[in-house]
């Protein structure tokens, strides 16, 4: 009887979840400093239950998405013997970074309908890509292929460690060429591939210290920044010349 009830509950009302995610992050923010060479975020947490554990295959999915940015995907073709950009698809918003980690094979922990609804896997996350253009799917695939090669899009099947059906943790490696902004981490708890609880938090990624100061100066005081660059360049050139002059003497 209990089992049947639990089963019905899962299908009928995921909102009245019996299972809840309690989350921790290894860091609240990612600071881009002068020696920044990528970062690794540890996402860990526990599943809290107020009643006995329901049945069904338990799954945990962690996604981390960088800020959406406008991009242009171009395709080259041979024209008059040389390779030139001939077609392009403009995309108003594509995630600059996207990682999805799961506790098991995707087909086991996530139903396609839930994926479609929550936009969890990479093809779903970049789905809204320029659908009005003919042949745009090959451009979307190219976008995913290139960003996967650069580790900007990652699918980490089975990379979430789930112990005793309660504690979970995963490491998300972020490359050095990150776009600044708020990174949204989403954690999905699934039973037989159906999402039963969701937890969303954000991690700010920003430049700090000198990197921040220079960036702001370049954008807000552009002329001053340009003059500063020139002053540094000219004095460095003069200093080197003087130093070598002394060495020769």
């Amino acid at each position: 009887m209990m089992r049947l009830f639990a089963f019905l509950m899962l299908f009928a009302a995921p909102l009245a979840a019996q299972e809840e995610i309690v989350l921790g992050l290894s860091q609240d923010a990612v600071a881009i400093t002068a020696d920044f060479d990528g970062s690794e975020i540890l996402v860990f947490g526990a599943i809290r239950r107020e009643s006995p554990m329901p049945d069904g295959q338990l799954g945990v999915i962690v996604t981390v998405a960088g800020p959406d940015t406008p991009i242009v995907v171009r395709r080259k073709a041979r024209r008059l013997g040389i390779w030139v950009n001939v077609d392009d698809v403009k995309i108003d918003a594509a995630p600059s970074f996207y990682a999805v980690a799961t506790s098991g094979p995707l087909s086991k922990v996530l139903r396609p309908s839930e994926d479609l609804h929550n936009r969890i896997t990479i093809p779903q996350a970049v789905r809204e890509v320029g659908t009005n253009v003919l042949d745009s799917r090959s451009f979307a695939r190219a976008l995913m292929r290139i960003r996967e090669r650069d580790n900007l899009y990652q699918t980490l099947e089975g990379q979430v460690d789930l112990s005793r059906d309660t504690l979970f943790e995963t490491h998300i490696a972020m490359p050095a060429n990150l776009t600044e902004g708020f990174y949204v981490a989403r954690i999905f708890l699934t039973r037989d591939g159906n999402v039963v609880d969701t937890y969303v938090t954000s991690i700010p990624v920003k430049k700090v210290g000198m990197e921040r100061w220079l960036y702001n100066l370049a954008h807000e005081q552009a002329l001053l920044y340009g003059l500063l660059s020139l002053a540094i360049a000219i004095s460095a050139g003069w200093l080197a010349s003087a130093a070598f002059g002394l060495l020769r003497r």
Partner: protein, 302 residues
């Protein structure tokens, strides 16, 4: 050791930057070219966004040219009057070049046109210099051929350029300056690779004076280009520039030394070979099928 570049927004190896700067610095000192025609494509290869590479390349050329110019000023191998005429033209050209660059950017074909510019100019200049130098070396013993009379000598507004030993119109050097200024803004180069041959073959200046004078013009034109890029596109990366120029200023000192020990014809033939190599590499990229026919550009219309 990795270093994060605040404007380019990527992390690159520190020693790679120092090495690139050093190579370009040696060339700058040896040939009187800013080295931008080599630096800018090399920066593309290590993953610096093209807009940042062009703007920062200009900044770096200022630094390596300053130390090169100081070395030439001491040896009195700079024609300041000729340099000033070239400079006035250069500033006008740089302004025009920025307008053209931003127009190409909005058309989305800036990469292709920049590459074609490189292939065409490097190809023509490289071949001409190579043939000329070979001829000069074969006729060794005789003074290299300087055309005494051509259409240039019939133009008005003649000025005496004492250091170069010339009495010619200001129009041809002014035009050379404008042309080089345009290339400086579009291709992220100092323009020495165009200006040096133009001064030798078109204006008929002596080779020893050509290098110092072109450095003089390059410094001011690239400084102007840097300011234009910094204020309109925000693409000058000062951290990238600093590491490139540390390598660059050291390299330039060695380069000037090497340059003085080689004969003018040898210098010219080496520069010709270098120009042709870069041209060949860039041309190949246009002709061969790329491994990935798709590319991603950040932002709309860049």
């Amino acid at each position: 050791m990795q270093i994060y570049l605040p404007i380019a927004e990527i992390s690159v190896n520190l020693f790679l930057l120092l090495g690139l700067g050093g190579i370009v610095g040696i060339l700058s000192g040896m040939f009187g070219v800013g080295g931008g025609f080599l630096l800018t494509p090399l920066l593309f290869f290590i993953g610096i966004p093209p807009a940042v590479a062009v703007a920062t390349g200009a900044t770096q050329i200022v630094a390596s040219s300053v130390s090169g110019l100081l070395a030439h000023l001491k040896r009195r191998t700079v024609d300041l009057r000729m340099g000033s005429v070239l400079l006035i033209g250069g500033l006008i050209g740089a302004g025009l070049g920025i307008i053209i660059f931003n127009y190409l950017r909005s058309m989305g074909q800036v990469d292709l046109l920049v590459t074609i510019f490189y292939v065409v100019f490097l190809g023509i200049i490289g071949s001409l210099m190579f043939i000329e130098s070979l001829r000069a070396i074969r006729k060794s013993g005789r003074i290299p051929t300087r055309r005494k009379h051509n259409w240039i000598h019939n133009l008005p507004f003649k000025i005496k350029f004492r250091v170069s030993g010339l009495y010619i119109s200001v129009i041809p050097p002014m035009m050379v300056g404008v042309f080089v200024g345009i290339l400086s803004a579009i291709m992220g180069v100092g323009g020495g690779f165009i200006m040096v041959p133009a001064m030798i073959y078109l204006l008929g200046m002596p080779t020893k004076v050509v290098i110092g004078t072109s450095l003089f013009q390059i410094i001011f034109v690239t400084a102007f280009t840097t300011l234009l890029h910094a204020t309109t596109n925000y693409t000058v990366d000062i951290v990238l520039a600093v590491f490139l120029l540390i390598g660059g200023v050291i390299g330039a000192q060695f380069g000037t030394h090497i340059g003085l020990k080689l004969k003018a014809e040898q210098l010219r033939i080496l520069l010709a070979l270098l120009v042709l190599t870069v041209c060949f590499k860039l041309g190949l990229d246009l002709l061969l099928q790329p491994a990935e026919v798709y590319s991603i550009a950040k932002g709309i219309g860049t």
